[in-house]
């Protein structure tokens, strides 16, 4: 309860304890799902990180969200965002048109009518997505081989960063491949559509497991994709290859630390003289792997890092893009941005693309991914 960002600003959501375990006692598969407010949970998982007794309220709520979604009419916005993979695929093909149209007032008004919120500018789409560079061939032979699971955000909205990460990994002496992959499934799950989620996840798991069997590790940068791969694939989605994928997937920074620990690489960190506010995404907290990027930041001379982990940015993927959640998302965004502004940083850093969009908007401070700092600091090593 004390950790739930939504119930703090929206009295309609009773909080994780009541919405989760308390209400669960009165739920049965034979009965209609009636808790309308169940959709108000944004699945930040803060309740799960906080609970010292191993209760997972967010998971109980998620199961009910799925049950509710299956029995009730799902609004158009939910259906669209469940399939944001296809939305991104279409948008990137006609990127110049979409990028031109999305800031227009009348388009916004139309979107609003369909329940899509427009307080936040839509991300820019790119024609040359990452999925189009599957022909790229980096280093062929190497002791270590990795599959880069880049996720939808890098694929459609920041393919430049995706390519930088890919080249960076290759420069560390890794064989990097980016096989065909689809959305991790988390957006569909969050929008109450478990069938779509399972479809996406099954496809990914099959592809990834094939590579894992051939000695590859999986690397992700998006913390929400990471959470899906490591927790939802073997958990709520219950995929046959789920466990294998889960055990062999690594956060990018976690993997770099691992390589350093194994003395596979011994990088020299160049100074980076900046003061940064590091907004920890809720899903990085939920991964339970500590804050690996912060561990790397400590090694960069001149970098002053202020870790902020108490606020949810409020956007929560597609949650804040729904009109019904706009008020919650804006309130949380303002609170989180205030904490960042208090630090008075040169830039804000966050692993999550959604957090970056939301917080750059509300704080007016440029937002970057931690890997961008790392790539800069380790440039000389791979030149």
């Amino acid at each position: 309860m004390a950790n739930c960002p939504v119930s703090r600003v929206n009295p309609e959501f009773p909080g994780p304890k009541q919405a989760g375990p308390d209400a669960e006692r009165f739920r049965s598969d034979d009965e209609m799902s009636i808790d309308k407010w169940i959709r108000l949970c944004n699945q930040c998982k803060r309740c799960e990180v906080a609970c010292p007794y191993g209760v997972n309220p967010a998971e109980i709520i998620l199961r009910e969200q799925v049950r509710y979604g299956g029995k009730h009419f799902r609004p158009l916005a939910s259906r669209v965002f469940a399939n944001n993979y296809w939305l991104g695929a279409v948008s990137s093909v006609i990127a110049p048109v979409v990028n031109r149209l999305s800031p227009m007032k009348f388009i916004k008004r139309i979107l609003n009518v369909f329940g899509i919120s427009t307080y936040l500018p839509f991300p820019q789409f790119h024609i040359h997505t990452l999925s189009r560079s599957w022909r790229w061939k980096g280093r062929q032979r190497s002791r270590k081989k990795v599959v880069f699971f880049y996720g939808c955000f890098l694929n459609y909205n920041r393919p430049d960063l995706g390519r930088d990460v890919r080249d960076f990994l290759a420069s560390l002496g890794l064989r990097v491949i980016m096989p065909r992959q689809v959305c991790c499934g988390l957006p569909a799950l969050g929008n109450g559509d478990i069938e779509t989620a399972r479809k996406f996840a099954r496809k990914n798991a099959r592809i990834l497991a094939g590579y894992i069997d051939r000695g590859y590790d999986v690397i992700y940068t998006c913390t929400s994709c990471g959470l899906a791969l490591t927790q939802d694939y073997p958990g709520i989605l219950d995929l046959p290859d789920g466990r294998k994928v889960s055990e062999n997937s690594y956060n990018l920074h976690e993997y770099i630390l691992k390589l350093m620990e194994e003395h596979y690489i011994e990088p020299v960190f160049e100074p980076f003289h900046r003061k940064v506010a590091y907004h920890i995404p809720c899903h990085l907290r939920a991964l339970g792997i500590g804050y690996p990027a912060a561990g790397l930041f400590e090694k960069i001379p001149g970098l002053e890092t202020h870790i902020l982990e108490d606020n949810c940015c409020g956007l929560s993927g597609s949650y804040g893009f729904k009109r019904s959640n706009e008020d919650t998302a804006v309130k949380l965004g303002i609170t989180a941005a205030r904490a960042i502004k208090d630090v008075d940083p040169d830039m804000l850093v966050s692993d999550c693309g959604a957090c970056r969009m939301q917080l750059a908007h509300f704080s007016g401070i440029p937002a970057i991914d931690p890997s961008e700092i790392l790539i800069k600091s380790l440039k000389r090593n791979h030149e």
């Binding site: 990180v49 889960s246 997937s249 620990e261 907290r285 792997i289």
Partner: protein, 396 residues
């Protein structure tokens, strides 16, 4: 993430966090592993050092010989409590109080509780019973009944403010907003409270409560103080938040929300702990370990019908005899024997009767601490946490 640290602290409560801060200040590379938010979040946020006598530090001398406070000593206990105050004021959570004199705060039941160090928002909570007290409550706020207080004092009044939301967290969130605070202050001014002090349940914001409380005091020209509430308890959450931020500032690595599911040992050394996870487990490796997992409530100890065990390393647990002798007949009579149970340690906070060498124990899991009987929970946690960290830090 796997990581290697000088010291790994198991338990993110008062004791563990203070140990981590001490070690980080000594320049050690530290990680804290916690399976969730600690019990201090549910507390009043006040630091009970030893409530059974007027001067809590001097009182240490009168405790039974085996009480863990004796391992620390009066002087070191004072230093660690002063250190706690410094750390908290660095996080905007000023604590007031004299470590040599207990003071009182007002509880939501209208009674007094004896404690030692209190959050700045409770500085004026110790008042004479003749003084006029005006209690403020919030519309539909749960579990806070001003009548409990006003009925205990002849000279008391009460008013109710509509914050537009009824939950503790919700109201506290609103107090973070300038506009809301100004509206609240002007409403208070309109009440024309003639004299005395103003008591408000502890909802005056999440981060800057001391400033909010001071501002209300100045604007009204009255002494204003907070009354701790049932959980969610803002003063407890602020205490936890302040210490956690102090950890993050010092570069301490946090592993939060996962249980430990295995321990790796090699001979007399603990090498690493592994955290439970849906997939690959995080392995946290350390040269030394500090166990600060708390007692039964926090899960450091687990009792079955006739015995109790330590949940992480399976250390030998001291028990006060058979189950028949664990409890008093009267539930409310202080000093149930079971409170004595815990881990026995030597002078350097190492557990006795075990071959493990690089492990130190602190906080309420220590045997004979009897924190309920002596009302010494947070104070003992701070003192033993800092002391154990000092011993441990010298060795790694």
């Amino acid at each position: 993430m796997s990581g290697t640290y000088d010291v790994v602290i198991i338990g993110g409560g008062m004791s563990g966090m203070m140990a981590a801060i001490t070690l980080a200040d000594m320049g050690r590379n530290v990680a804290v592993v916690s399976r969730g938010d600690p019990v201090c979040c549910l507390s009043t946020g006040c630091i009970d050092v030893l409530a059974t006598c007027n001067d809590p530090l001097e009182g240490i001398g009168s405790l039974p010989d085996n009480h863990p406070y004796h391992l620390v000593g009066e002087a070191a206990a004072r230093t660690s409590l002063e250190m706690f105050k410094t750390v908290m004021s660095g996080e905007g959570g000023v604590y007031v109080g004299n470590v040599h004199a207990n003071r009182r705060i007002l509880t939501p039941l209208g009674r007094h509780k004896v404690t030692c160090l209190v959050p700045g928002t409770m500085e004026f909570a110790d008042f004479h019973s003749d003084e006029y007290i005006h209690v403020i409550s919030f519309n539909k706020m749960k579990d806070f009944y001003p009548n409990y207080i006003t009925s205990n004092y002849k000279n008391a009044g009460c008013s109710i403010f509509d914050a537009g939301i009824s939950t503790t967290m919700g109201i506290a969130e609103r107090f973070e907003s300038r506009q809301f605070l100004e509206g609240f202050i002007s409403w208070l001014k309109g009440l024309d409270i003639p004299e005395g002090r103003i008591a408000i349940p502890a909802v005056l914001g999440m981060h800057f409560a001391v400033d909010v409380c001071n501002e209300i005091s100045v604007e009204l020209g009255r002494k204003v103080f907070e009354i701790p509430t049932l959980p969610p308890s803002m003063p407890g959450l602020r205490l936890f938040g302040g210490l956690k931020n102090a950890l993050l500032k010092r570069g301490v690595n946090l592993y939060w929300g996962k249980e430990i599911y295995s321990v790796e040992k090699s001979g007399s050394q603990i090498e690493a702990v592994t955290l439970a996870s849906a997939g690959r487990s995080a392995r946290v490796q350390g040269n030394a370990f500090i166990l600060a997992t708390g007692s039964f409530v926090s899960g450091g100890l687990h009792a079955s019908m006739d015995t109790a065990r330590e949940t992480v390393f399976d250390l030998p647990v001291y028990l006060p005899g058979k189950r028949e002798s664990w409890f008093n007949d009267d539930f409310f009579a202080p000093g149930h024997a079971i409170e004595k149970s815990g881990i026995c340690v030597d002078q350097s906070f190492r557990p006795v009767d075990t071959e493990i060498e690089n492990l130190f124990v602190c906080g309420s899991i220590l045997a004979f601490s009897e924190v309920m009987k002596y009302s010494c929970g947070h104070g003992m946690a701070i003192a033993t946490g800092v002391a154990a960290a000092n011993v441990c830090g010298e060795l790694v």
